[in-house]
């Protein structure tokens, strides 16, 4: 951070930390001029990302995702429901995003974070509209029983780009999902078959082959913040608090646009800026796909 010894203004006589807190925008701009960020990243690069599948053994599928310090834990629990009459051969998904008080000093118990319901809705919209999951695959017995997949995503550490990390953890949890083998009893209730214990089950399981969901058109996202002409990919919490304009682009694995959010902010983005964000997201999708595939093959080896 050598930029602080520039002569001719107040910053020359000030300690870096004080300057950073008193004049955050100037502090950041000095880095941007040199195409750098205070955490030593270039403007367009995302933070280190890791995916670990099967983190929670009480769930049917789960994943722990870290993007920099931002940490998300997603888990899916499968329950049985009676399908609605309009769609007797479809299961359903319920997606919820939680920000427990451990994740950030701004969240207090009993007072949920403002951001949580917004991200919850965005996630549900994105996952359901991306066509990643075929709800028909969640059907067990048409009109009688189908799966309800409860996907809960908990933020364990909030350090910016929460939506990106939450979406990645949701996708990863679905790819680690193993559906239990179930049978139907006389009263029409579904129970888990125990082929392991009794050698063979008394009743034929209803979903022998359907242990995994087929995931197509997997959505991936990248959030960028805009400041003047600069575009910063994958902002951390400090950057998000200083620069208020953000653009979140969601693309699917074949590069098609799923959704684009630009929720207000002081910077009015030109088409060119949006196009740059989409281009950055395209690169990021490829990175994320490799990371996810590695995590899946790691799990299958175990």
């Amino acid at each position: 951070m050598g930029s602080s010894n520039a002569s001719g203004d107040i910053s020359a006589d000030m300690e870096i930390d004080a300057f950073r807190r008193l004049f955050p925008v100037q502090f950041y701009e000095r880095h941007f001029v040199k195409s750098l960020r205070p955490d030593a990243r270039t403007l367009n690069s995302a933070r280190d990302t890791s995916v670990a599948l099967g983190a929670v053994s009480s769930a049917n599928g789960s994943a722990l995702v870290k993007i920099g310090c931002t940490t998300m834990l997603a888990a899916i629990k499968m329950e049985i429901m009676t399908p609605s009459t309009e769609s007797p051969d479809e299961g359903n998904l319920a997606i919820e995003f939680h920000m427990p008080p451990i994740c950030s000093p701004l969240v207090r118990p009993g007072r949920p974070a403002d951001a949580a319901p917004v991200i919850s809705k965005q996630l549900a919209d994105t996952i359901l509209s991306a066509g990643m999951i075929n709800l028909k695959e969640l059907c067990l017995v048409s009109g009688k029983a189908a799966w309800m997949a409860y996907l809960d995503i908990c933020c364990l550490d909030a350090d910016g780009a929460l939506f990106d990390a939450a979406l990645l953890s949701a996708v990863a949890a679905f790819s680690s999902l193993r559906i239990p083998v179930v049978s139907l009893n006389d009263e029409g209730r579904v129970f888990i078959s125990e082929e392991m214990e009794e050698g063979k089950s008394k009743r034929e399981p209803v979903n022998k082959e359907q242990r995994k969901l087929t995931l197509s058109n997997i959505p991936f996202s990248l959030t960028c913040v805009l400041h003047k002409n600069y575009i910063l990919a994958d902002p951390n919490a400090e950057e998000e608090s200083i620069i208020e304009t953000s653009v979140t682009v969601v693309l699917n694995s074949s590069g098609q646009l799923v959704s684009l959010y630009k929720p207000g902010g002081p910077v009015l983005a030109y088409t060119a800026a949006i196009q740059d964000c989409v281009a950055l997201t395209k690169q990021r999708v490829q990175e994320l796909q490799i990371i996810l595939n590695e995590a899946i093959s790691d799990m299958e080896v175990d």
Binding site: A55, V56, S57, S58, A59, S62, C69, T71, L73, A75, I76, K77, M78, E79, I80, M81, T82, P83, S84, E86, S87, N92, A94, I95, E96, H98, P100, P101, I102, C103, S104, P105, R108, P109, A124, L128, M148, Y150, D152, C154, L156, D157, A158, D159, P180, V182, S183, N185, R189, V190, F191, I192, E194, A237
Partner: protein, 256 residues
């Protein structure tokens, strides 16, 4: 959500269709439990400080399938409605993830844990070292695998140490179940379900002081003595592991 979201259908989790689950026997001559441990053997503990970067101090604890994160914030400004106080305040809150329990959403049943955690830690902290302010201790149970409360308490005292809050000593907590004629230490969920009595001890080993002792259910006096001795011994060992975890962290400061 889809258009059907308005009417949430009632759901249930499929169970294994067996007769009533059998009560496990604990008077086997070989003295081995369902997970291969001896009656007086604790689960291996994994502890790590600095799990949450956004917090002032934090710790992660994993005892078998019980997984807990605790974040500590502060000392920071007390809530506006609070009266003036010469000594600091400790505010504790314990929550469960919806997927922590076998049946979804059952974790909210443990409402009393927040106040038990508060009482277990209060005696160990030098509250007068942060007058007029509050230290918040928030715990999240990511997976419940039995003996949740003692794991939360031990993990919280580690997180407080990580946050640099002044304490007389670390607080180590261990629980024990009485199942029929046997005592089993550090019980898993299934053992807790069948217990006739439970005992939890929170202890500061360097000062040989007990901050909390909770005894529930059917006990005979000699059994209580035996149980307390077992817990005291286990707490001492656990505190050793906690101490070495803090030392490791101090020896290898991460460069941020």
């Amino acid at each position: 959500m889809s258009s059907r979201a308005g009417t949430t259908p009632s759901t249930y989790s499929p169970s294994t269709q067996k007769k009533k689950p059998q009560k496990p026997t604990f008077n086997d001559s070989n003295g081995v439990r369902s997970d291969g441990r001896g009656f007086y053997q604790c689960r291996p503990a994994y502890l790590k400080t600095g799990a949450v970067s956004a917090a002032g101090g934090s710790a992660y604890a994993e005892f078998g399938n019980t997984k807990v994160i605790v974040s500590v914030f502060g000392p920071r400004e007390s809530k506006k409605a609070m009266m003036y106080s010469n000594v600091g305040r400790l505010n504790c809150s314990v929550s469960y993830t919806p997927f922590a329990t076998q049946v979804r959403g059952q974790g909210s049943e443990h409402k009393e844990y927040s106040s038990v955690l508060h009482k277990a830690l209060e005696g160990a902290i030098l509250l007068e070292s942060f007058p007029k302010t509050t230290v918040d201790v928030f715990a999240l149970v990511m997976e419940s695998g039995g003996s949740d409360l003692p794991v939360i308490i031990s993990c919280a005292s580690l997180a407080l140490a990580d946050a640099g809050i002044m304490m007389y000593d670390l607080v180590a907590a261990v629980s024990l179940s009485c199942v029929g004629p046997s005592l089993v230490i550090d019980p898993v969920l299934e053992e807790e379900r069948w217990q006739d009595g439970s005992l939890m001890l929170t202890y500061m080993p360097c000062r040989s002081e007990v901050t909390q002792l909770a005894v529930n259910g059917e006990w005979t006096t000699p059994k209580i003595h035996e149980g307390m001795e077992l817990c005291l011994d286990a707490c001492k060992k656990l505190a050793g592991i906690m101490r070495s975890c803090l030392k490791e962290e101090a020896d290898s400061p991460s460069i941020q």
